[in-house]
C-alpha cells in the first residue's frame, strides 16, 4: 500500500516532464505561426492542408506544425494529396443543434452560416463569429462540439473492429467449448487467458476477479486495437486515439468510478486513517494516501497518452527530417531519407511493442487498483 504513492510519484514526474515539454513545444509553434492571433475573415493563415508537405513542396515546411496536426484531433480526415474525408460537424449551441459538413469550412478558409450562428474553424476548434468576422466569445463558450471528428471516427472503427473480431470467436466457443481453438481464436485465447490468469487472478483474487474480467478484457483489447490502428499510416488507421488525452481521461475516469463503486470499507479506512499507525504519523500519511488516490488514475491517463503520443512524435520527426533536409537541397533530402526510413522502421517496431506493453500496463495497473480497493483487512487477521 505505502509503496504505491512512491512509484506513482515517479511516474507522474516522468510523465509531467514529458507532457510539459510537449506543451511548451506546442505553445512555441503556435506563437511562431500566429503572431496576430485574432482570427479574421480576411486572414489567410497557413492551414492544415498547407502543412502536409507532399503536395506543397514549394512552401516552407514546418515540422512542428505537421507533427501536431497528425497527433491532434481534426474535423476532417486527410487521406492523400488534396483528398480528405469531410466529417460531420455536430454542435449543440445554446439555441439548439447544428449539423453540417466540415467540408464547408474549406480547411478553415471559409465561414459557415449555420441556422443559429456563423462558424469558423480556428486551430481545429469551432468558434462562433459575427458578421465582421470577430469571435463571439460568449457564444463560443456555450457551444458543445460533439462533432464526429477524426478520433471519433477512428474510435467507432475500432469498436466495429473489436465487435467483428470477438463476436464470431464467441460463437465458436458457444458451438463447442471443447474444440481446439483455430485461426484468430487461437491467437486471442492465450491473451484472454493471460489477462485472466496473470493479471486478474493474482491482483484481484480468485474470489472476486470474475466481475472485473469483462472490463479488463474490454480495456485491454480496446487500447491494443487503437494503438495498433494508430500505427497504420493510412486511412482506417493513423488517428492518434489512445494518444489523445480525452480518451485516456475517459478510460481512467471509468477505472476510478469502478474503484469507488466496488471499494469496501477497508480501502477507505486505509486511505483516511491507516490502522495501526500512530496519530502524528497519520498527519503525514493520510494526505499522501489521499494524494495517491487521485494520482493513480491521473497517472493511468498520462502514461498511456504520453507513451503513444511520444511514439507518434518520434516517428513523425524522423519523417520530417527528410523534408527539412530536402528543403535545403534535394540531394540531402534523398540522402537523409535512407537513414530516416531505417529509423522509422525501427521506431515502428518499437511502437508495436509499446502498443502491447501499454495495453498490458494499463490493464495490469487497473487490476492492481481494483484489487487494492476490495482487499480484505489483513492487518487484523495477520495472514499476509
Amino acid at each position: 500500500m505505502i509503496s504505491h504513492p512512491n512509484t506513482s510519484l515517479k511516474y507522474i514526474l516522468c510523465t509531467l516532464i514529458l507532457a510539459v515539454g510537449l506543451q511548451f513545444s506546442a505553445i512555441a509553434e503556435h506563437t511562431d505561426e500566429h503572431p496576430a492571433h485574432a482570427p479574421h475573415a480576411t486572414e489567410v493563415s497557413t492551414t492544415s492542408a498547407d502543412a502536409h508537405p507532399a503536395p506543397h513542396g514549394e512552401q516552407k515546411f514546418d515540422a512542428g506544425k505537421m507533427i501536431l496536426e497528425h497527433i491532434l484531433d481534426a474535423h476532417d480526415w486527410h487521406l492523400f494529396g488534396h483528398t480528405s474525408i469531410h466529417l460531420p460537424v455536430i454542435l449543440y449551441t445554446d439555441k439548439g443543434f447544428e449539423v453540417f459538413s466540415s467540408g464547408k469550412f474549406e480547411h478553415g478558409h471559409a465561414t459557415v452560416q449555420g441556422k443559429h450562428y456563423s462558424y469558423r474553424l480556428h486551430d481545429e476548434k469551432v468558434i462562433v463569429v459575427d458578421e465582421t468576422g470577430a469571435e463571439n466569445a460568449a457564444a463560443t463558450a456555450a457551444i458543445k462540439d460533439i462533432s464526429i471528428t477524426k478520433n471519433v471516427l477512428a474510435l467507432l472503427i475500432s469498436i466495429v473492429v473489436l465487435i467483428a473480431i470477438f463476436i464470431p470467436i464467441s460463437n465458436r466457443y458457444q458451438q463447442n467449448p471443447n474444440r481446439a481453438p483455430s485461426g484468430l481464436q487461437s491467437l486471442l485465447e492465450p491473451i484472454i487467458l493471460f489477462i485472466q490468469d496473470n493479471i486478474a487472478i493474482p491482483n484481484i483474487g480468485k474470489k472476486n476477479y470474475g466481475k472485473y474480467m469483462p472490463f479488463l478484457l474490454t480495456v485491454f483489447f480496446f487500447i491494443l486495437v487503437n494503438n495498433l490502428l494508430g500505427l497504420i499510416p493510412f486511412f482506417p488507421g493513423g488517428a492518434n486515439v489512445t494518444g489523445n488525452i480525452s480518451v485516456t481521461f475517459t478510460l481512467s475516469a471509468i477505472v476510478l468510478i469502478i474503484v469507488i463503486v466496488t471499494s469496501n470499507k477497508h480501502y477507505w479506512q486505509h486511505i483516511l486513517a491507516m490502522p495501526g499507525v500512530p496519530k502524528p504519523v497519520l498527519l503525514i500519511l493520510t494526505p499522501i494516501e489521499i494524494l495517491g488516490f487521485v494520482i493513480r488514475p491521473f497517472v493511468l491517463m498520462m502514461r498511456l497518452f504520453a507513451n503513444i503520443t511520444a511514439g507518434h512524435i518520434v516517428i513523425l520527426s524522423f519523417i520530417s527530417l527528410i523534408f527539412i533536409f530536402g528543403a535545403m537541397s534535394a540531394t540531402a533530402g534523398y540522402g537523409i531519407s535512407i537513414f530516416s526510413m531505417l529509423l522509422v522502421v525501427f521506431m515502428s517496431l518499437l511502437e508495436l511493442l509499446v502498443a502491447f506493453l501499454q495495453a498490458y500496463v494499463f490493464t495490469l495497473l487497473s487490476a492492481i487498483y481494483f484489487g487494492s480497493a476490495i482487499e480484505e483487512g489483513h492487518h487484523e487477521e495477520g495472514h499476509h
Binding site: 507532457a19 510537449l22 506543451q23 506546442a26 505553445i27 501536431l68 497527433i71 491532434l72 484531433d73 455536430i90 486551430d123 481545429e124 476548434k125 458543445k144 462540439d145 460533439i146 462533432s147 464526429i148 471528428t149 478520433n151 471519433v152 474510435l155 467507432l156 469498436i159 473489436l162 465487435i163 470477438f166 463476436i167 470467436i169 464467441s170 460463437n171 466457443y173 458457444q174 467449448p177 471443447n178 485465447e189 484472454i192 487467458l193 485472466q196 470474475g210 474480467m213 469483462p214 472490463f215 478484457l217 474490454t218 483489447f221 480496446f222 489523445n244 488525452i245 480525452s246 480518451v247 481521461f249 475517459t250 478510460l251 471509468i254 503520443t309
Partner: protein
C-alpha cells in the same frame, strides 16, 4: 494546450462508444468465452482425472492378470507334476504286475514240467518194470515155469525200486 486538455466532444463519444462496446462485448463475447474457457478447463481437468483413474485401474488390472497368470502357471505345474507321478506309478505298477505274472508263469511252467517229468518217470518205471518183468518172466519162466508167487514178488520189487 489542445494536446493536454480533454475535449468535451471526444469524451462524450468515448463514454458512449466505450460504454456500448463494453456492453456488447460483455454480453456477447466475454461471458460466453470465459464460461466456455472455464468449461473447457473443467472438462480437461475431469478428463485428466479420469485418465489417471483409468491408468490406475489398468495397472491394477495388469497386476491382477499377472497374479492370475502366476496362479495358472502354478496350477499347471501342479497338474504336470501330479500327472507325472501318476504315470510313474502306473508304470511301476505295470512293470511289477508283469514281473509277477512272469514269475507266476515260470513257477507254473516248472510245476508242469515236474508233473510231466514225474509222469514220464512213472511211465518209464512202469515200462522198465514191465520190461524187467518180461525179462524176469522169461528168465523165471525158464526157471520157474508158471510161478505166480514169483510174479507178484517181482512186481512188488519193481514198485519198490525208486528211479531217481
Amino acid at each position: 494546450m489542445r494536446l493536454l486538455t480533454p475535449d468535451f466532444g471526444l469524451v462524450f463519444w468515448m463514454v458512449l462508444g466505450f460504454g456500448i462496446l463494453f456492453f456488447i462485448l460483455s454480453k456477447f463475447a466475454w461471458k460466453p468465452i470465459l464460461s466456455a474457457l472455464k468449461e473447457r478447463e473443467q472438462s480437461i481437468e475431469g478428463s485428466l482425472r479420469q485418465a489417471e483413474k483409468a491408468r490406475e485401474d489398468m495397472s491394477k488390472l495388469v497386476a491382477k492378470n499377472e497374479e492370475l497368470l502366476n496362479q495358472a502357471k502354478e496350477e499347471r505345474n501342479e497338474i504336470l507334476r501330479e500327472a507325472r507321478e501318476a504315470a510313474e506309478k502306473v508304470k511301476t505298477d505295470i512293470v511289477a504286475r508283469a514281473q509277477k505274472e512272469a514269475e507266476e508263469k515260470l513257477k507254473q511252467a516248472i510245476r508242469e514240467i515236474d508233473i510231466q517229468k514225474m509222469a514220464a518217470i512213472v511211465e518209464v518205471k512202469n515200462a522198465a518194470g514191465l520190461m524187467a518183468l518180461d525179462i524176469a518172466e522169461k528168465v523165471i519162466r525158464k526157471e520157474l515155469k508158471g510161478n505166480p508167487e514169483q510174479v507178484a514178488y517181482v512186481n512188488q520189487l519193481a514198485k519198490e525200486a525208486k528211479l531217481n
